[in-house]
Subunit: 250 residues, 2 copies
DNA sequence: TGGACACTACATGTATACAATATCCGGCAA
DNA sequence: TTGCCGGATATTGTATACATGTAGTGTCCA
């Protein structure tokens, strides 16, 4: 992976973390494989201290698992693990939406979300949707989800949602790119966008239970896409991290 | 704090982490205060490398906050933060209970929980309840909650519940000791224990929604106790970590 | 007298040397 | 042939020296 110019300015620890994360998510480091510090030192260019730091952070992130006797290995996930992670993220986002509704969000607070909503409408309106448009959707979707979580105004909750979304296949935008090749891709996006609209409406009207339920169901769209992708066993390249999923028989 | 004999066998990193955690929770290190590595090296006896390791882990644990320019400071929590953390923990435990109910738990699985339930009954039956009995309750309660979470059979969820319970004031047994001095202490324990019984019954009968709702409500008992404790501004010593809570006016 | 700049001191980020320990392989004995 | 023991090797855990950047303080100039 080519070193980006911006990497120069940041710390070795961060650089090592980014570099190792890429290696793990791309599947270059196999699931279950032990990560040798010395080897990581060679590939990242940093010395052992920042590499160790990066390994600890990647463990907390959920990508690595500590080996009892020392060191780390790449974590493997079952299909069930992934589905549970998505459900978990949806539950936390649901809680955030409920908090937002119960605590009230002024029209000033909601204005940027509605603008984001409109932008997504612009993307989804085209038929068929171009690959570029899918990319735009991913970015806008991520922004909308981040803003919805922020609306809870609960730092502890925001923190946990971020952690739950750290795994790429559990993140709100994880499976968007993978579904871009599916025949009913646009329909799915329309449905998801409708859920966006409904949850904001619910928050505006202080309907906590409704907002929570919708966000939970919204996450399950991703779970559905996961199943489709795993069935087809294709487009694995569109979502980094899919290499970490161990299928039932393996 | 006296070093325990068992500390000898574990790594310097873990030793430093335990030592620093105690220092933070006891309030010896003030909220907002920057933690100097050198100072930490002196107090813990370990060298800088394991100390830094411990600091990173304590940040992930939620006790420390990274300073943009480098280093860490002790995190401060508002009353709202604490209440949200409890609600968060309850929500996750609720999800675990729902999973347990939906996925089914055999009577073999439930047997140890019921035994634990009986043991708690034995503790709660006495009137008045001794301080020792409160301690027993804390241990049994922690075990029961751990077993309930395990019943979800979802490693990602178990992981998140553990993280959410890491903050002492968010943990299931956090406020039990603080309420030991309250006049209606026994009644509260009885109510909590009844919720334990109900949630296990719900899981047994595969009533997912009911199990989830009860676990959420169960956590709110802790939130009530928090408010009582903060009102009285007493018994701060009974729950380490209470020193981290900054009251509204401060 | 106030502000800005420079210098100093100190704290953190990084690299590396050293120590302890786990793992692996080979040989020996049952 | 299999299991166990022991040593060699490699890997991680720890300590410390060095580099770099930040913050604080004092002085000088306007």
């Amino acid at each position: 992976m080519a070193e980006r110019e911006s990497d120069r300015s940041v710390s070795q620890t961060v650089r090592a973390q980014l570099s190792l994360r890429d290696l793990i998510l791309s599947g270059d480091l196999r699931p279950g494989e032990r990560i040798s510090e010395l080897q990581a030192v060679e590939t990242t260019g940093a010395s052992r201290t920042p590499v160790r730091m990066a390994l600890v952070r990647l463990e907390e992130e959920g990508l690595l698992e500590a080996i009892p006797s020392g060191g780390f290995m790449v974590k493997t996930f079952s299909e069930r693990d992934v589905i549970d992670s998505i459900e978990l993220r949806g539950t936390l986002e649901g809680l955030a939406a409920r908090f937002a509704a119960e605590r009230g969000a002024s029209s000033r607070d909601l204005e940027p979300l509605k603008r984001c909503l409109d932008e997504i409408d612009g993307v989804v309106r085209q038929d068929p949707i171009s690959v570029d448009a899918f990319s735009s959707y991913v970015a806008l979707n991520a922004r909308l989800h981040a803003m919805l979580t922020e609306l809870s105004r609960s730092p502890p909750l925001i923190r946990q949602v971020d952690r739950a979304s750290a795994l790429p296949f559990a993140s709100p935008s994880g499976f968007v790119m993978t579904q871009s090749t599916l025949p009913d891709a646009r329909d799915t996006l329309m449905i998801a966008q409708d859920q966006h609209r409904v949850v904001i409406d619910a928050i505006e009207n202080r309907e906590g239970a409704r907002a929570e339920a919708i966000m939970r169901e919204h996450a399950r769209v991703a779970a559905r896409n996961l199943r489709l992708v795993l069935q087809k066993k294709t487009h694995f390249d569109l979502l980094p991290g899919l290499a970490l999923i161990r299928m039932a028989g393996e």
